[in-house]
């Protein structure tokens, strides 16, 4: 019974800390990529701790209980019903506590991905075998090169002309499937200028691995200049 109280208290305190952390992040624009990095770090610590405990225990048991005489037999304990139940429930609660903790943390991150900032700059994306076509609200078209201003949340409204594709931008820890007949949205938050890879991660035929392009993040004023020149070209 004491165990149960112990684990109940762990779960309660984890949920409370989750609520607390959640409030901290609630204000301003929450960058999913930053949230991802943060949670990934925690996740790795979590996994490595479990992994090391299990690995050391396994190694110890394998080395400690080697057979010494040829006729030796194992002397594993015969568990009483209560002990058997305990040995099932205690690990269950430990795994369960970790699961609930990670699930709650994930929920927080997932919200960052799904809550698109209202002021996001929206660009249409139409994918096709094997290229990406971008349509800016200003009427500009671009293929395989997505120019965006730094410091502004960018939203992509995506659909496909043919098969299922999947846009992946490793730098921004974002990807989403693009399918014909639906319009799905994702967003990301470029901060540093530079060029970053975007690439297709849903198998889409013979040139699937060649279906890639660049996200080009520009200074805001440079970006406005580029928009102006491109607009003039259209006229």
């Amino acid at each position: 019974m004491r165990c149960k109280h112990y684990f109940a208290s762990i779960i309660v305190s984890l949920s409370l800390s989750f609520l607390f952390i959640n409030n901290l992040y609630a204000k301003g624009i929450a960058d999913p990529a930053e949230g991802w990095n943060h949670l990934w770090y925690e996740l790795m610590v979590d996994i490595i701790i479990i992994g090391v405990i299990f690995a050391v225990l396994t190694l110890y048991l394998l080395l400690r209980y080697r057979r010494k005489q040829p006729d030796e037999e194992g002397q594993g304990p015969e568990l009483s019903p209560l002990a058997a139940l305990g040995w099932a429930l205690i690990p269950t609660f430990i795994f369960l506590a970790d699961d609930i903790f990670l699930g709650a943390k994930n929920f927080e991150l997932w919200n960052k991905y799904r809550n698109i900032p209202e002021n996001a700059y929206a660009i249409n994306l139409e994918s096709a075998m094997w290229s990406w076509e971008f349509n800016y609200p200003e009427g500009i078209k671009a293929t395989n090169e997505l120019r965006v201003p730094a410091g502004e949340p960018i939203m992509l409204k995506m659909t496909s002309r043919d098969v299922v594709h999947n846009l992946f931008i490793p730098e921004y820890k974002v990807k989403w499937e693009i399918r014909p007949g639906t319009m799905d949205t994702i967003w990301f938050y470029p901060k540093k200028t530079g060029e970053y890879v975007m690439t297709c991660v849903e198998f889409c035929g013979v040139l699937h691995s060649s279906m890639h392009g660049k996200v080009i993040v520009m200074q805001k004023d440079e970006f406005s200049k580029w928009i102006e020149t491109e607009k003039n070209k259209i006229k």
Partner: protein
């Protein structure tokens, strides 16, 4: 059996579960070999950025399609639910054969038809290139490859599996020898019961999904065509509704084999038997139907499903964790002997630990944004399925070798094969996690946009060469044992399980001279107790 000369006719028309099992084994090892050759070709291709062994990406895509389909449908499911189930189930429960021996023969030949059909991939002018997942509308509209091949291979092997499922579930429920109860059944039998329960529930869903692909492509229907009101997302849901449980169809029997090996070579009782059976195996079965969405978090679905399935997917760690606790508990106070099968079982413990832990991020929809479709995913499922399960299959064949052939393999060759295997697999597949987390997508013929991964790709290819060497040593060890191995006793491992204690090696048709009668306190893991005379059954076999 050993006295009679080889007769092809006898093998073709056999209904003996052991021979049917061997037919499965031959087919699955052939599929494994071919899938392995495809893997080596792909690894060679990936050693440099740009074209390496072929300039035709389609060739690579066909290799990859074949590798995935053959590994899962041709090698692992048939090796576990075909060979091991057939060979072990009647022997372990003290039955003369399975419940429906002719249905059993039908199962294995349906499977072989599937294998032959799959082999035609290399003959026909338009081989399928749709990956083992076969997503529409590529597969149902755009692919130049022959999608019906995929459909029919899946259907044949699916029918084979359902027939096998009905057969084995009936056998296990109805044909246990007197004295074998639900409380002293071998763990492997439980794992087979769980695996076939999953197959019977979920295979029909896959069958429907892949049939609709061909309907769309060849009969003009519009199930997956968005422009005509269909939805490709439905296929993704149906496919993973089967294909996540399929992971457990493969994993659970593999864990079952590892339990048998560990019990025998520690000469120890199973730690917390009921926890392993009900918490571990049946807990997994219970959860397996509500976790498919974690394969398609980035495909678009209502948020409540995402949130629900994040938790259910994470919860898988509970039954799987209990299976690990049971294995480690069985080591505790054991008398461990490191023969080749036990080495593979020890390898399993570590490979499965890595595979299991790297699966946790995959359950988390937010984290999944980065890792979906990358080498992280392929790294994870190769550790779980390819590596852990292959440890169980190869270790399991070494373990059963003296029973199967009546001869003993050479221990030094067995140990060498294990050492090469454990080095090779880690050198090959651990770099995948590093590449994956940094963005390397799977299913890429070329990676000119990610040249920074060339070094790790080369390391991985070098590891693959070591794996190939280890498989060569496995083959040599088995062939050498088969041809020139020393005669083995009926129970060389000193196991207490029925297939070792109550019949000769190899067992004759009908298995036992008479059906074993077991007392209530009999257990296949009855180690560490005082041997009471009279409870030991007739040994005159």
């Amino acid at each position: 059996m050993s006295a009679t000369a080889f007769s092809l006719k006898e093998w073709i028309f056999t209904t003996d579960h052991k021979r049917v099992g061997v037919l499965y084994l031959i087919g699955s090892l052939a599929a494994f070999l071919l899938a392995g050759i495809m893997a080596m070709l792909m690894r060679a291709e990936l050693t440099t950025v740009g074209p390496t062994v072929t300039t035709n990406p389609n060739a690579y895509n066909v290799w990859l399609y074949f590798h995935g389909a053959a590994m899962i449908l041709g090698y692992q499911i048939p090796a576990l639910t075909g060979f091991f189930a057939n060979y072990y189930v009647p022997l372990m429960i003290g039955a003369k054969d399975v419940a429906f021996p002719r249905v059993n023969a039908l199962s294995v030949w349906l499977y072989w038809m599937g294998i032959v059909l799959a082999l035609l991939t290399f003959v026909i002018p338009d081989p399928p290139d749709i990956m083992w997942t076969g997503y529409p509308p590529y597969s149902s509209e755009f692919s130049p490859g022959n999608t019906s091949f995929y459909t029919f291979v899946v259907l044949l092997i699916g029918f084979s599996s359902i027939a096998g499922g009905i057969n084995f579930i009936t056998t296990i429920i109805k044909m246990r020898a007197p004295g074998i109860t639900w409380n002293n059944l071998n763990i492997f039998i439980w794992s087979i019961l769980a695996a076939f329960t999953l197959q019977i529930i979920f295979v029909p869903v896959l069958g429907v999904a892949v049939t609709l692909l061909s309907f769309d492509k060849y009969l003009g229907t519009n199930f997956f065509k968005a422009a005509a009101g269909g939805s490709s997302l439905i296929y993704e849901n149906l496919f993973w509704f089967y294909s996540h449980p399929a992971v457990y169809v493969i994993l659970l029997p593999a864990v079952g084999i590892i339990y048998e090996i560990v019990a025998t070579f520690t000469r120890n009782r199973i730690f917390n038997y009921k926890m392993v059976v009900y918490g571990g195996f049946w807990g997994t079965v219970l959860l397996s139907g509500v976790v498919w969405a974690h394969h398609i978090y980035v495909s678009g679905m209502p948020n409540w499903i995402v949130i629900l399935q994040v938790f259910t997917s994470l919860l898988i760690s509970v039954p799987v964790g209990l299976l690990m606790v049971g294995l480690l508990g069985t080591l505790y106070k054991g008398a461990i002997e490191f023969r080749t099968p036990m080495l593979y079982a020890s390898g399993f413990l570590f490979l499965f630990l890595i595979g299991g832990l790297t699966g946790i991020p995959n359950a988390m929809s937010g984290i999944y944004q980065q890792i979906h479709g990358t080498y992280w995913i392929t790294g994870h499922f190769h550790y779980v399925m390819a590596l852990s399960v292959t440890s169980a299959i190869i270790g399991g064949v070494y373990y059963i070798f003296p029973k199967l052939t009546g001869k003993m393999y050479k221990e030094s060759l067995g140990k060498l094969s294990f050492i090469l295997f454990i080095i090779g697999v880690n050198v090959t597949f651990f770099p995948w996690f590093i590449m994956g987390i940094n963005g390397m997508p799977r299913r890429y013929y070329d990676y000119q946009q990610f040249p920074q991964f060339e070094g790790l790709q080369q390391l991985s290819t070098a590891g693959a060469v070591i794996i190939a060497l280890s498989m060569l040593v496995v083959l040599i060890a088995w062939l050498h044992g088969l041809i020139a191995g020393e005669k083995s006793s009926d129970n060389p491992w000193g196991s207490k399980s029925l297939e070792w204690t109550h019949t000769v090696s190899p067992p004759p048709p009908g298995n036992f001279s008479e059906i074993p009668k077991l007392t209530a306190d009999w257990s296949p893991y009855n180690y560490g107790r005082k041997q009471e005379e009279g409870k030991k059954i007739d040994e005159e076999l």
